[in-house]
Subunit: 440 residues, 2 copies
């Protein structure tokens, strides 16, 4: 059995590693376009500010380690074509073509930062933050830059903004929408926005990038409102699946190019699986194929595909529910399940409750308020989503809610659950239970 | 409708408050033997060390506030007899008898610290920590005591020991069993024990209290091994339900006197409910009546009884699963569900996995290892229990497990759950998911 994997970061290498453990006799070949394998991309914003000092600590396993485990890894190999009919791939290595056959193929090509083709977008000093090499180059360039513009106020934009503040930079964030963190409901996004503003970030919402100006290096960011003088630009307007080479070959894709996979990781083409930032996962609550480029899903689907290929046909991906968490200065910002925004977009008719409650017993020193929104189905009282933002005890609670919402539980189950309690950690009625009580 | 409540702390007052909101027209009378209502007993260890400075902050609501809400509260009224046949109670107030009738009765008399009748147990300087008045007297007495012996290494004993260390005392803990925290499996109890020893606590395990010595004040604690010179003794060997006055009246009780109630809070006698530290709750996993004297259960069952009495017959108590958490110096010590000890006692045939894993991405500074034990049913792979101990991110995880275990989920549900992830808070595979992967 010969397994070919295209792409050697989270999804590809977790698949390959797991499968090699399950089936040592399988031949596994990984073709990776870039130079780095299996690295923690989520740590890159913190690497920029030197909170994480050495890029080597971001690398989970090296090419040598994978080779030693019996996985054949080819870096610098770009796959340019998949022939689903004769079960082969074609590509280029140092400008020379190569062709390989497979029994089973796994596509794990990830996604690339979107680079907007505005005026002068080829000027120097405009950086993406997509690969480990990007991060290394950007960290070096930041040494001689004081004023930074970040284009986009999604997760990466917000995390990078915080880390630029840690470096003592002057930071502009430019976002064409009227809120940061577009997957959050507006009042909750506002709390995250305010935390960055308070830290000194100059926030430009409702402002659209029109172009750049400069001679060799970028000197101004031009928006629909003004010209902003900058030394360096970081683009963080989202990512696009690396599936252009698969166009017009009959793959089922979302409009952005994300490969639609089922809960076994299968694409619609025979013997071709896909995982990671190049796919749209099944959503556990809405059943929609959903583009959620996150390392956790890449790792999980990678393992599921390995189980499938090893013959364990019972293994299945349980679905995404939209869980996310990020640090924004001293706030923890988190969500899971469906927001009111999602409800309106999908016409689900959810309702919500908003609650402020303390993370621990009010009489124990250091208690902090957190803001909670639960969305719920008004007919069944099933809790459908949670957004939680606060300074303490938030990462505690969002994943309790991920568990509650994954299981489709009603508010009374949470209200009456035997949660562990002690004054330094929880009030006698946990904030989650106080919010559950409001749903009635 | 006239509701009589015996006992005015957590269970009694949460019942009365909720019922008054649901049914303002009901007449509610609360008879409380002591002086304080509705206080946060769980905060008392921290009050001793002045982490919580003022006892008033422990009082959730005062008698005046309850009266103002329309609940008639009688403090200093000790109920001495319940006549289930003519639906009345009898008692004493300032040595004068009183008698009242009821339509529905709620018993919420709590529990009292066990005082072991060893030699010289009436000497001065031997304190319980059961009521708010106990805490006030003990805090005063601690001012002139340097060497403290704590009898018992359960939750209260451990919390008090930590707080005595904070006060700079010399602290002996005397425990007749071979481990601290008897509800935990031995290797996990050992981690908590070691944390206290490292902080300076002198730990005497396998050592049994035989008596005290002294003239007026206690001067020595006598064990089966030695005499320990002390200035003050705090007894924390557990509590006994305050149900002696109900003996021989046909109530279904555990051997320790805990009233057995069903999931509606009903005792076996008609129109008599009970909640709080005087009852044994239904266990969600074993169905056994279980004595778990904790404020969370008291509050929850109090509300359920209020719902029942208001006519909402669908409300029910979902059962305890044995969740607990406590701070032991810089460790968080927690459990939920069934331990291996419980499995052996009940002959359940559970198995376990032990895992050490980091609370956050290893490359993000400040990661700490935590110790995790999951128990599980080897036939179904349903996770039955979790014990988690570590310095960071523990209170996060134990209540995720409370949710998982309450719902009877198998290991693959947890392994594949969409948990929120970001490097400052979680590794890409959460420690809980790593432990779930080990179950196979």
């Amino acid at each position: 059995m010969k397994i070919v994997v295209i792409g050697g970061v989270a999804a590809g290498m977790s698949m390959a590693s797991k499968l090699k453990r399950l089936k040592p006799e399988y031949e596994i070949e990984v073709y990776e376009k870039g130079h780095d394998l299996s690295y923690g991309a989520c740590g890159m914003p913190y690497y920029l500010s030197d909170i994480i000092k050495d890029e080597k600590t971001l690398v989970a396993r090296t090419q040598e380690e994978f080779q030693a485990s019996g996985i054949n890894v080819f870096t610098g190999h770009e796959v340019t074509h998949v022939n689903a009919f004769d079960k082969s791939i074609e590509g280029l290595h140092q400008e020379k073509p190569f062709k390989k056959t497979y029994d089973q193929l796994v596509i794990a090509t990830g996604a690339s930062a979107i680079h907007i083709p505005v005026d002068n977008h080829h000027l120097k000093g405009i950086y993406p933050l997509n690969s480990l090499q990007d991060a290394i180059h950007l960290k070096e360039a930041l040494k001689s830059a004081q004023t930074i513009a970040i284009i986009g106020a999604g997760f990466i934009g917000m995390e990078v903004a915080e880390n630029m503040i840690h470096l003592g930079k002057t930071v502009h964030v430019i976002e064409r929408l009227d809120q940061v963190l577009p997957t959050y409901d507006a009042p909750f996004a506002k709390l995250a926005e305010d935390a960055l503003k308070e830290a000194g970030v100059i926030m430009h919402l409702n402002e659209t990038l029109k172009g750049y100006e400069g001679l060799e290096n970028v000197k101004h960011v031009i928006t629909d409102r003004q010209a902003i003088e900058v030394d360096l630009v970081i683009e963080a307007v989202g990512v696009r699946p690396n599936t252009q080479f698969l166009k017009d070959q009959g793959f089922d894709m979302l409009p952005n190019g994300a490969l639609v996979v089922n809960d076994k990781g299968e694409t619609n083409l025979k013997d071709i699986y896909a995982a990671g930032d190049c796919v749209a996962y099944p959503h556990l609550l809405t059943q929609e194929p959903t583009f959620v480029p996150l390392g956790t899903h890449a790792n999980k689907m990678g393992r599921i595909i390995a189980e499938q290929l090893s013959g364990n046909k019972d293994a299945y991906f349980h679905g995404v529910i939209g869980s996310s968490i990020l640090k924004v200065m001293d706030l923890t910002v988190s969500k899971t399940g469906l927001t009111m925004k999602a409800s309106e977009r999908l016409n689900l008719g959810l309702k919500y409750v908003d609650v402020k409650a303390k993370n621990q017993a009010g009489y124990y020193p250091g208690a902090e308020l957190m803001d909670i929104r639960f969305t719920y189905d008004p007919k069944t009282l099933v809790i459908k989503g949670a957004q939680i933002i606060g300074k303490k005890g938030v990462s505690d609670r969002i994943n309790i809610m991920a568990s509650i919402i994954s299981q489709g539980l009603t508010q009374d189950i949470l209200e009456n659950m035997d949660l562990a309690y002690s004054p330094p950690f929880q009030p006698v009625w946990d904030p989650l239970q106080i919010a559950a009580q409001q749903i009635k």
